[in-house]
Amino acid sequence: MAEDLAGGVAGAAASVDPDGPDGVRMTWNAWPRSKVEASKCVIPVAASIAPIRASPSLLVLPYAPLRCKPPCAAVLNPFARVDFAAKIWICPLCFSRNHFPPHYAAISETNVPGELYPQCTTVEYAPPPIDAAAAAIPPPVFLFVLDTCLIEEELGFVKSAMRRAIGLLPDHALVGLVTFGTQVYLYELGFSDLSKIYVFRGTKEISKEQILDQLGLSAAGLRPGTAGASGYPKARLQANGLLPSGSVNRFLLPASDCEYALNALLDELQTDQWPVEAGNRALRCTGVALSVAAGLLGACIPGTGARIIALVGGPCTEGPGMIVSKDLSEPVRSHKDLDKDAASHFHKAVKFYDNLAKQLVNQGHVLDLFASALDQVGVAEMKVVVERTGGLVVLAESFGHSVFKDSFKRIFEDGEQSLGLSFNGTLEINCSKDIKIQGVIGPCTSLEKKGALCADTIIGQGNTTSWRMCGLDRSTCLTAFFDISPSERSSQPGSTNPQLYIQFLTNYQNPEGQMRLRVTTVTRRWVDGSANTEELVEGFDQETAAVVLARYISLKMEMEEEFDATRWLDRSLIRLCSRFGDYRKDDPASFTLHPNFSIFPQFMFNLRRSQFVQVFNNSPDETAYFRMLLNRESVTNSVVMIQPSLLSYSFNSPPAPALLDVASISADRILLLDTYFSVVIFHGMTIAQWRNMGYQNQPEHQAFAQLLQAPQDDAQMIIRDRFPVPRLVICDQHGSQARFLLAKLNPSATYNSAHEVAPGSDIIFTDDVSLQVFYEHLQRLAVQS
């Protein structure tokens, strides 16, 4: 417990794993006991959870967990009080007494099971399968959905990416292929005589039942409306039809069996042949294609992990899910259109994808979206499916770009770099009474399992204590929001436990296909009364708070019309500073902040300027993309999205973090900016000149070569670990690409800034306020009475 706290508090230290073995970080590590106090804290009480984070110390128990009696059903954990003599354990969450079952008979103080080790607040159960059927590990399913409304070159990139992917697939993985353009083509890979393709029209919404029916996969084997008419007895039809589970194998084949066929198909795959009239976009029925893919997977045995991997190269212009008409004179919707409710297709498309999401979640399948186009493809609309199913999303400019190519490859790679793609996850949260769960932001779906623990107000996926994560991986991260609502009885001092407990149960199918249950139990301190501000301050995690706030505000921006995010942020920050700052009233100069809060205003400053809040610099697709990643990445990564990290390389000093300020630019430095989505290597003017003159190639300038190389190496390190692969930008000062850096820097020096600009440094052409100005205002406002 203490370790947990330590971890939380010391989060900023790079050397320490900020998430700890539990993978849980909270905005407040000391919780106010009352609702009023909680609201005064400004920053919501929330936890960022990485449910299946890889941890070397993870204990895997080869048996089934012991659970508390319903309705609690919490799993035995180190915080339980155990009466070894009576063979009884008391659940820390509900205080129920449970008898150990017979096979725990040997338990004693010196012989405790793994789940009771104090350090094992997180354990994983791998119970043996109940029977042979359960033991059979269902192979993972990969259903590729390829856009063919592409130019030849792009299609070529898609093909080569696909070929590489096919080569990397595990032999037993089942593979299917769908291509689409004006129509949807579903390939029956198991048909050996010739290439057999099912064709669906792109204009028509088609239900799962219809798809199964049309593919001959429906369980009944009967088509609606014909059973009676045809006069054939039902039984006969069933006898004739293949078993649904068997016949889906016509479309999904083990990679080892269909590799040849797939490669042959790819060789012959052409761009969509339907004519595109002048002045029109190609007809692209992404929506129907995804419906078909989802429908096909619907015939898989429930519980089989399956991913739809969609490679989309342009906007959906036909059928359900269409985001823009085929007429080129109609531009794809912008944020402005969305704001004004002028995006005529948007809501319909979102509704369609929402239904698709429900279907996929029911089936337990995942949609991964790889969008590569200069134009938007409808990520904003599809976001709901990707996010609800826990899918991956990558947005790139071209299928030939490394952002796509390398990311796509990562999915299939094994080993250390593996994403650890898992399936069929469910997350349950159990907590002490007095705590209610408002909801979760992140790649999951509410299972609508209402219980006493559900709060009245909902944030994100709420109204439940259990969530489905069709797809999850090692880096998947969820944010759970809690509400504090003490009951009458618990408010009586003395009678209550000073600790609160929260247990996260994550059931999932690991990359090897086995079902696992990971149990993480955390405890935090209650802080009673309003007097103990100190304790609250001590428990504040400003990084987590910044990230949670960013996620929260993104959600609000999407959900609430006319929401003024900047103002809301400003006001929250001011309230926070007023509450926790150290100052004399109305004296801005006296204002100081506790170290635990010290960089929070800077986070807010950058968040205000970030793509999450300033959406108008981006397309709705980009915004959706950024937000999805923000919602699913770890706190550490999310912080980088909010406030990029900047490293400076020079002859004079070792690589060091630099201020995210225009002042960090210098002619003889190399800067490495990591914004998460892109990594920028910025050569100062002098460095660039030297490099252009080729000094690095001269033996006597080894050092220069090393200096040039260092940021490259570091950039590669970042890139290697990250998914999606960030865009690498290498630029020189005053070059056009330098904007990638300049946009992120604090404009302490602008074209109209008063003070002198240091030689070799730079200015930014902006009217934005600088951090310094921001601070000044903040101080002034915070101290106002």
């Binding site: 005589d193 010739l194 290439s195 099912y198 029209r201 001959g216 088509r223 045809s230």
Partner: protein, 1107 residues
């Protein structure tokens, strides 16, 4: 008895002058005795006249596209049929003309050799061949019958020869009375011998033309005169009589006299030569002997003798002459007496039956500015188009047009044209000429838009021309101007096909195109449901398509595509250069679409190999298909969508009831059975389409020029009533293989397909028929889509399709004027040229009812009845349809009896010569599959759809099939006339030791009785007992004469019918035998009368009406 009277009365008619009325009176008296006489002209079977001469025609066989010969058979070439020449006999007939005596000169047409039957004369048989016109003869005849029939006239044989005789008769007009006899004499023919005689000489000569005359000349005269008359009657009664005689005389009337007089009788003949051929043939086939086709040459000649009816040429002469019509009458007085007994009194062998002819007739469509009466549609003839179109292309139910609507309704006959715009020509005929008017396009009347034709009259030195259709006077365009000759015709008329030919084709200009002419697109859709796979239907279809590819038109404009379907639709991308074709499945069968924008339909030259490989592998690919549901409607819709940009032919192979997707159907047959208790009243509703879905689809198909042909290779109910709507609306047709057998039907499937795609045809056609003011088109009927009242749209039109056009009067015609009909068909050839085919027919108008009867065209009228009956079946209870048809027959005969027949005896059933087979055909129709109560729904629906586009020449056999014996083929002459010896469709003619082949143009039933010589079985089937013959019969050729002959016969039939017979084995004593007997239409059946009974019934009804 009464009969005698008839004669007398008969004559009156003839008298031109007289109006028909007289007759009535006389009759009454007779009534009592009522006999029914049928007069039938039996056409003498020309029996095997080997038409040697004919040869030439034959040679050209090639020209015909060739019906689908059996795969095995090479037969194509064999046009043997042609070979047979018309028996000379015909010639004789012609000559008669002259007799114009007042008497109806009965012509005898030479009865052609009625040969065979005659003698039989069963004593009683009163029937007589009335034919000959003259009633008189009959009288005698009647008597004769009893008597000595045949015997007497042994000589008959000579007579035949004598067609010549006939000539004489004419000669001496006065004799008229005698002549009549003469005609009778024909009977003599009947005489046993007759057949041979005929055969011999005559035949050859006829052709020869001239020669014929000689023959006649000589002998002829004599024959007629004398003997014949009396004797004949006696003898032969029926058969011959019919043939001819009768009618003709009347004509002869006026003109006749001259001709006659003209010693020249001979000459006339000569002229006739051509005609001869004609006549004979004609006669034989139908029974009507006369045919006169003869067109007589000379104008005068007209008078043909002919058998009454046909008048050919009868000139419109004065009324007086006209009379001839008297037809045959047979009076059975006896019957009359005891009606009940009636039947017994009729000699079944004497009643009118069709007699096939084997000779070829040369038919000139006009002579002396008069339209000639065409030979029967079922006969073999060569047309020379000199103003009117070939009757193959267009013929009218009557060859004279009634001046008023009242006259038409009095006759009770229908006025309709049968248009078969691509009918196969005889190989010896001149091809239709193509005329290119250059950029200005064909010359048309500026008011009615009628196209220039030989009947447009150029006036005012050629500066103007008057439209024969609307009467408007147009200015002649300057570059079309030409002076008129002294005869009032343009001097260049003979050089310009459009001014001298009944049929021409104009090159269409841009004005006639809404787009470039479409390519020839063939899209094949094949059923691969489990059922189709397991019955071998899929394999059969694939093989057929694969083989048929070779028959598609060559060239870059030929495009093909393939799809298969079960409960979804599978397209194939044929264009891919690499690897195999790509299968594209369209699973949404409620709302179909095409899976590719291009490459589903590609040039044949580009994909032939891929396609063949694909067709080869389809049966294997679906070998384990377990899908039983069929999305037929969706499949054709999908095929249509693929073809929408171009149009073309959609050929669908289907095996089971469409059960899913758009246009799905339910098993109504089962419903029909379970609801049977609710009565028959609604039963016909099952013959209507189940709903409008397919109709709506079909209309859309037609709009985009997609024609659908459906090949039903099924073993179950498939609801043809609903399905057939599609082909019927799009100009296609249904092929039906039930119960499908991969063993025996594969070859037929291939041949049907092959013929379907290789026969002469056109695409994206529009047709309109115009007619002279006075008439207007009432209705079109056939396989087409009609979107505007005046035109019909034909996505495809081919040589087998016939369109019926009915007319009604909206004004009167002047006696002596002509009524013009013009069919204009705008279409695209398979090679992509846009053409306008113009078919003209101009017929004289008459105000004489007798002329109408004389010029009635039995085949055409019957085809008309057949189609009307078929149209009625789905909308009325069967019994009502049968009654309507029977009443139609009765009304016509009644009208004739009442207004035209002179016979006074009411005891006689008097049949107009031209229509003497009407009762038989009517009876057969009532008993046909479509009108029987016991038929399967699908069989009946198929029959209905089949009839809708059926040509005249196939309509007759469909209803009254042809039956020949095959166990004795070896003993028949080897002169190509194997087919001529038909057997009446009566079980009395089936011997216990015989094997018979019965064919109706669709099916061929081989009936094996139970005492057949095993040696014959061995020779024909390679087995020694009837039980050993496989039920799924495949005709093989064994190395023996009999087997070869049988194969020859079957191949010849196939060639004639342009259809590969579906051979079916019927064994006596086996259930399969039961298929056979319903075709014995002359038998008494549970649901129907025997032929004799039917005649009695008809007679009685007429009597009732008369009273």
């Amino acid at each position: 008895m009464a009969s005698s009277q008839p004669f007398p009365s008969g004559p009156p008619r003839p008298r031109p002058g007289f109006s028909p009325n007289p007759n009535p009176n006389p009759n009454p008296s007779a009534a009592a005795d009522a006999i029914q006489n049928l007069q039938i002209g039996r056409p003498p079977p020309p029996s095997a006249v080997p038409g040697v001469a004919a040869a030439p025609p034959f040679t050209s066989p090639a020209s015909r596209p060739g019906p689908p010969p059996a795969a095995t058979s090479l037969s194509r070439p064999g046009h043997p049929p042609f070979a047979s020449r018309p028996p000379p006999s015909s010639a004789p007939i012609t000559s008669n003309g002259p007799p114009a005596f007042g008497l109806g000169a009965p012509r005898f047409p030479p009865p052609p050799p009625a040969s065979q039957q005659m003698p039989p004369v069963s004593g009683p048989a009163t029937i007589r061949a009335a034919s000959p016109s003259a009633a008189p003869p009959q009288a005698q005849v009647a008597r004769s019958f009893p008597g000595s029939p045949p015997s007497a006239h042994p000589p008959s044989s000579q007579p035949f020869m004598g067609p010549p005789p006939s000539s004489q008769p004419f000669m001496s007009p006065q004799l008229s009375s005698q002549p009549l006899m003469g005609p009778l004499s024909s009977r003599p023919f009947g005489g046993p011998p007759s057949s041979q005689p005929f055969g011999g000489p005559p035949s050859s000569r006829p052709f020869g033309g001239p020669p014929s005359s000689q023959p006649f000349g000589g002998p002829s005269s004599q024959p007629f005169g004398g003997l014949p008359a009396s004797q004949p009657f006696s003898g032969l009664p029926a058969s011959q009589p019919f043939s001819g005689l009768p009618a003709s005389q009347p004509f002869s009337g006026p003109p006749a006299s001259q001709p006659f007089s003209g010693p020249p009788a001979s000459q006339p003949y000569t002229a006739p030569p051509m005609p001869f051929p004609g006549p004979p043939t004609s006669s034989s086939p139908f029974g009507t002997p006369s045919w006169q086709s003869q067109a007589q040459q000379g104008v005068p000649s007209m008078v043909s003798m002919q058998a009454p009816p046909r008048m050919f040429g009868m000139p419109p002469h004065t009324p007086g002459q006209t009379m001839a019509s008297v037809p045959p009458v047979m009076g059975h007085s006896p019957l009359a007496g005891h009606q009940v007994s009636t039947p017994s009194k009729i000699d079944p062998n004497q009643i009118p039956r069709p007699v096939p002819s084997t000779s070829v007739v040369l038919f000139e469509t006009r002579q002396g500015n008069q339209a000639n009466i065409p030979p029967p549609a079922t006969s073999d003839f060569i047309v020379k188009d000199n103003g009117n179109c070939s009757p193959r292309l267009m013929r009218c139910t009557m060859n004279q047009i009634p001046c008023t609507g009242d006259l038409l309704s009095t006759s009770s006959m229908p006025l309709a044209l049968m248009v078969q715009p691509f009918a196969l020509p005889h190989p010896s005929e001149e091809p239709i000429q193509v005329v290119d008017f250059g950029e200005s396009g064909p010359l048309r009347c500026s008011r009615c838009k009628g196209y220039v034709n030989p009947f447009m009259r150029f006036v005012d030195q050629g500066r103007h021309f008057t439209c024969n259709l609307c009467g408007f006077t147009n200015e002649t365009p300057r570059d079309y101007y030409c002076n008129l000759g002294p005869d009032g015709r343009r001097r260049d008329a003979d050089e310009r096909p459009e001014l001298c030919r009944g049929t021409v084709e104009f090159v269409a200009t841009k004005e006639y195109m809404v787009r470039d002419p479409m390519p020839a697109v063939f899209f094949f859709i094949i059923d691969v449901t489990m059922n189709a796979i397991q019955t071998g239907a899929t394999a059969a279809a694939c093989t057929a398509v694969s083989q048929a590819l070779a028959e598609l038109p060559e060239g870059p404009r030929t495009m093909v595509g393939v799809a298969t379907f079960d409960s979804s639709i599978h397209f194939y991308n044929l264009k891919r250069a690499s690897q195999q074709p790509l299968m594209l499945i369209v699973p949404d069968i409620q709302d179909v679409y095409t899976p590719l924008h291009t490459d589903l339909i590609v040039q044949l030259t580009e994909c032939r190999q891929n396609l063949e490989q694909l067709l080869d592998s389809i049966p294997n690919m679906f070998e384990n298909n377990r899908v039983t549901e069929s999305a037929f409607g969706a499949a054709i819709k999908a095929g249509f969508l693929a073809m929408k940009p171009t149009g073309g032919k959609l050929l669908v192979f289907q095996s089971v009831l469409p059960s899913v997707g758009i246009g799905s159907l339910s098993s109504r047959e089962a419903e029909g059975r379970t609801n049977i208790s609710s009565g028959d009243k609604e039963a016909h509703k099952l013959l209507q389409p189940a709903d409008k879905t397919l109709k709506t689809m079909a209309i859309e198909f037609a709009e985009y020029q997609v024609c659908v042909d459906i090949f039903l290779t099924t073993q179950t109910f498939v609801d043809i009533a609903s399905i057939s709507v599609v082909p019927r609306t799009t100009g296609g047709q249904v092929y039906y293989y039930y119960p499908f057998s991969a063993v025996s039907d594969t070859a037929k499937l291939y041949n049907d397909l092959r013929w379907n795609i290789s026969r002469p045809q056109g695409f994206e056609a529009v047709m309109r028929v115009r007619c002279s003011q006075g008439l207007q088109v009432q209705e079109y009927s056939g396989n087409f889509c009609k979107r505007i009242p005046t035109d019909i749209d034909l996505p495809a039109i081919d040589c087998d399709k016939t369109i019926m056009v009915t007319f009604k009067h909206d004004d009167k015609f002047q006696e002596g004027s002509e009524c013009g009909f013009q069919c204009a068909l705008l279409y695209t050839t398979v090679y992509g040229q846009r053409r306008i085919r113009i078919i003209n027919l101009s017929l004289p108008c008459t105000s004489m009812l007798s002329n109408l009867f004389r010029s009635a065209d039995l085949d055409t009228q019957f085809a008309c009845f057949l189609k009307q009956a078929a149209n009625g079946v789905p909308t009325s209870p069967l019994s009502q349809v049968r009654d309507q048809i029977t009443n139609l027959c009765i009304n016509i005969l009644h009208s004739y009896r009442k207004y035209c027949a002179t016979v006074s005896s009411s005891g006689q059933l008097i049949l107009p010569e031209a229509l003497k087979l009407l009762p038989l055909y009517t009876l057969a129709l009532v008993k046909s599959i479509g009108l029987r109560n016991d038929g399967r729904l699908d069989d009946r629906s198929y029959w209905i759809s089949h009839v809708a586009s059926l040509s005249i020449s196939l309509a007759i056999p469909l209803v009254y099939p042809r039956m020949i014996s095959i166990h004795d083929l070896a003993s028949k002459e080897e002169d190509g006339s194997l087919l001529s010896a038909t057997i009446p469709l009566s079980s009395e003619h089936i011997n216990e030791d015989g094997i018979y082949l019965l064919e109706n143009g669709e099916d061929g039933l081989i009936y094996v009785a139970n005492m057949v010589n095993s040696d014959i079985l061995q020779q024909l089937f390679g087995v020694s007992s009837a039980d050993g013959i496989p039920t799924q019969l495949v005709l093989q050729q064994f190395d023996n004469d009999l087997s070869k002959k049988l194969n020859d016969v079957v191949n010849e039939i196939r060639r004639q019918r342009c259809s590969y017979l579906r051979l079916r084995l019927c064994r006596k004593g086996d259930p399969s035998g039961m298929f056979f007997f319903p075709y014995m239409v002359e038998d008494k059946a549970p649901g129907g009368l025997s032929y004799v009974e039917f005649l009695v019934h008809v007679h009685r009804q007429i009597q009732t009406k008369m009273a």
